[in-house]
């Protein structure tokens, strides 16, 4: 028996060596030997904002990878082909697959995909990982100025514009006016600070807690959604993730106070304990069922007013998330951009597409058909006259107080580290001080690891 195992292992080894010996690893994996080439680049990448109407682009086909699971976006693309003569192949996937697909394609040095979605947290990786074209000097300054600050900053990393701003998004405070009334609170006056938030929460809890209602619900499942909410608290207390030397400082000052406030809320018994298992959709579901009086969530609207899904149609309002002290309000930004892949063979056509995306026509269509909020600032005043709900301007107000997650290349892993520690602190396993200290150390060692080698 022993002999067999040894021989078996030997044979596997033999296959490995003889079958494929000598494959040079640096080229075999599509390694990034030109990884530092990005810095030398600038306006020299041959792309020109004014060259997008070049007739030679007609008849080219570009491939776009983005979130589109119901096919609505795909239909809008026909208009682009009509306008420019450039054909579009759409790869519509679910949000959770976008990042994997982009990076797998980049690893394989594949030129199959030309334009890709870029969530704000990926900008650093797209830059450092040599995935997307740096558009800082391609998109003229006066065009850049037309975007909402929220969406423009979300598409930038360290001064580099890595994609065209695609839409604006952030978290907002939603509250149930009817529950506010029942608890004896003014339904038109949501809490302005987290102190007030806690005070109001306690009132709601004491009046309505007996009915199984909680004052607030949050997306505090151990995942990105938890980091997002933490960013809002950190911002409200004037904190920052890193100092000027890229040293993590979120374990002190506003970052620490923010987490302490989250823990205080959790311990006060006013937060639905299920929050620790919820993502944003779960929170919205609980809000629609009338089980929580307040929630922090992304742009919701039609769902909440659909009587088939919602028990609170017409009974809710939305406004600014609380701030504290000097800070009026702070909310995590979720705006996204669209980037051009470095490996694309149709970059100019892709740029034409980006230009179209940033145009009023597309932005208006997306807003009307999918309720996606424009990245172009001027559209907010223009569209608000026909917006009966008044949501457009309310959301726009919050966008001004957006806080970005630190979208450096290591962010995805930092977020995993941080959300694990936040979750522990919320569960009461270790103090906020201790947990943030550990997270800061881990983030720093990760930082050191990737820069030293």
């Amino acid at each position: 028996m022993k002999r067999h195992s040894v021989v078996a292992a030997g044979i596997v080894g033999l296959f490995l060596v003889s079958g494929c010996g000598g494959a040079p690893p640096t080229t075999s994996g599509g390694g990034n030997s030109d990884s530092n080439g990005q810095n030398a680049e600038g306006s020299s990448n041959g792309l020109s904002w004014s060259g997008t109407s070049d007739p030679s682009l007609k008849g080219q086909t570009i491939t776009v990878l983005w979130t589109d699971t119901n096919g609505i976006r795909g239909k809008l693309l026909k208009q682009f082909t009509k306008d420019t003569g450039i054909k579009v192949k759409e790869i519509g996937v679910d949000y959770n697959s976008v990042y994997n697909k982009v990076t797998t394609a980049a690893m394989a040095r594949s030129s199959d995909i030309d334009v890709v979605e870029m969530d704000t947290i990926w900008a650093g990786q797209y830059y450092k990982g040599n995935i997307a074209v740096d558009l800082t000097h391609v998109i003229p300054k006066d065009v850049q100025d037309k975007f909402t600050p929220s969406s423009l900053s979300a598409a930038s990393y360290d001064g580099h514009l890595m994609g065209i701003p695609w839409f604006s998004s952030s978290k907002h405070l939603f509250w149930n006016k009817e529950l506010f009334k029942e608890a004896g609170l003014d339904p038109n006056r949501p809490p302005k600070t987290y102190d007030e938030f806690l005070k109001d929460s306690k009132i709601i809890q004491s009046k309505l807690g007996g009915k199984g209602i909680y004052a607030s619900g949050w997306s505090w499942k151990q995942a990105e959604s938890l980091t997002c909410d933490y960013v809002g608290f950190l911002g409200a207390y004037g904190g920052a993730f890193f100092d000027k030397n890229n040293k993590p400082i979120f374990d002190t000052g506003g970052g620490l106070q923010g987490l302490k406030e989250m823990v205080t809320l959790m311990k006060s018994g006013t937060v639905d304990p299920a929050s620790l298992q919820w993502d944003e959709q779960d929170v919205a579901n609980a809000f629609m069922a009338g089980k929580i009086a307040m929630m922090s969530n992304w742009e919701e609207g039609d769902n909440l007013n659909d009587p088939k899904q919602s028990k609170i149609a017409g009974k809710w309002a939305v406004g600014l998330l609380p701030g504290e002290g000097q800070v009026t309000s702070a909310a995590c930004t979720g705006s996204e951009g669209l980037a051009i892949m470095k490996t694309s063979k149709h970059k100019e056509a892709a740029l034409a597409f980006l230009k179209w995306i940033a145009g009023d026509e597309y932005q208006t269509m997306e807003y009307k058909q999918e309720g996606q909020y424009p990245s172009v600032q001027a559209l907010y005043t223009k569209l608000s006259s026909s917006d009966k709900s008044g949501l457009l301007l309310k959301f726009d107000e919050q966008f001004k107080y957006g806080v970005n997650r630190p979208n450096a290349p290591g962010y995805v892993q930092w977020s995993d580290i941080i959300s694990a520690r936040l979750h522990d602190a919320l569960l009461g396993q270790g103090t906020p001080e201790y947990n943030l200290k550990v997270a800061a150390n881990e983030v720093q060692s990760q930082e050191a690891l990737s820069s030293s080698q």
Binding site: C20, S33, M107, Q277, Q453
Partner: protein
């Protein structure tokens, strides 16, 4: 005569090679090269997303992985999950098989029904159990309230922390994979001759005696096969966990996947994959040796 023997043998070998050729070609072409590649990567610093250069670093990735807290925590939880699920699946599967091996009216119906969980899509199984564990309105909480095990005020958050998540994930996996165990053991039980039971029954053997003296010894080969297949499956738990939690330290595969496809530490991820592979390989070799000994004695 001797000459004939040799040609016959040659013919046999040629024939065998011809039959094996398609498989070997496919495996060599599709499987071996990527395996080789991942082995090579495991010796390189190969971070895709931070712009650092690719370079040979010897065993450093292996050292890093073996000294990282995350890896051992994930290993510990994976082993816990594997032991817990395989044990429960074995016991439950064994008794289910025992029941379904008897003669009774409607046996076909029962045998067909129990396969349902196994045939359910793994992803759907994960989402379904996540739904069941929803606090407040999920089946689990509603049942416990209905049975007055929980008072109406109590509303625990089942999937709040990663250690307890392992238990809840185990339940979901046990539900889905017990039928698989049942099928293999039922197959084994069918091969046990009834005379063996009748023989010990004459000596007055009851349920436990029959079990210990006939069923278990006769079933040993099937049990070992079932165990090894399930260990290999359970050790790779991934899909369900991604639904339940964003914490990659809940299983080795989850951690490896995140290292490879979220953080893009391809070198480290490859090293991690090889370490866990070697771990399973050792388990399998031990299994094979035990099995061999077992068969030699039989």
């Amino acid at each position: 005569m001797k000459k004939f023997y040799i040609t016959q043998r040659h013919k046999d070998v040629g024939f065998a090679l011809l039959l094996i050729l398609p498989t070997v070609l496919v495996l060599l072409r599709i499987f071996v090269y990527p395996i080789y590649q991942s082995a090579v990567w495991s010796f390189f610093h190969y971070n895709l997303m931070d712009g650092s250069p690719v370079q040979f670093i010897g065993w450093q990735n292996y050292k890093d992985v073996l000294t990282s807290v995350a890896f051992w925590l994930a290993t510990q939880r994976t082993v816990y999950f594997t032991v817990l699920t395989v044990l429960f699946e074995l016991v439950l599967g064994f008794f289910s098989a025992l029941l379904l091996n008897q003669h009774f009216r409607g046996r076909t119906f029962f045998r067909a029904i129990i396969i349902i969980p196994w045939a359910l899509l793994t992803l759907v199984n994960g989402l379904l159990w996540d739904w069941i564990y929803q606090p407040g309105f999920g089946l689990f909480t509603v049942l416990l309230h209905g049975l007055h095990i929980l008072s109406p005020q109590q509303n625990p958050v089942w999937l709040a922390n990663s250690s307890s998540i392992m238990n809840f994930v185990s339940v979901a996996d046990i539900w889905k994979m017990t039928p698989f165990m049942t099928l293999i053991l039922l197959a084994g039980m069918q091969a046990i001759p009834e005379e063996l039971y009748e023989a010990v029954a004459i000596d007055g053997a009851g349920f436990w005696n029959k079990l210990i003296h006939v069923t278990i010894p006769q079933l040993m080969p099937s049990i070992l096969v079932a165990i090894v297949l399930r260990i290999m499956g359970a050790f790779r738990v991934y899909d369900i966990l991604t639904v339940f939690t964003g914490d990659p330290q809940t299983s080795i595969t989850y951690l490896t996947f995140n290292y490879a496809f979220r953080y893009f530490y391809l070198g480290k991820a490859s090293a991690m994959a090889w370490i866990s592979t070697i771990f399973i390989l050792i388990l399998i070799v031990i299994y094979i040796r035990v099995l061999k000994k077992n068969l030699d004695q039989a």
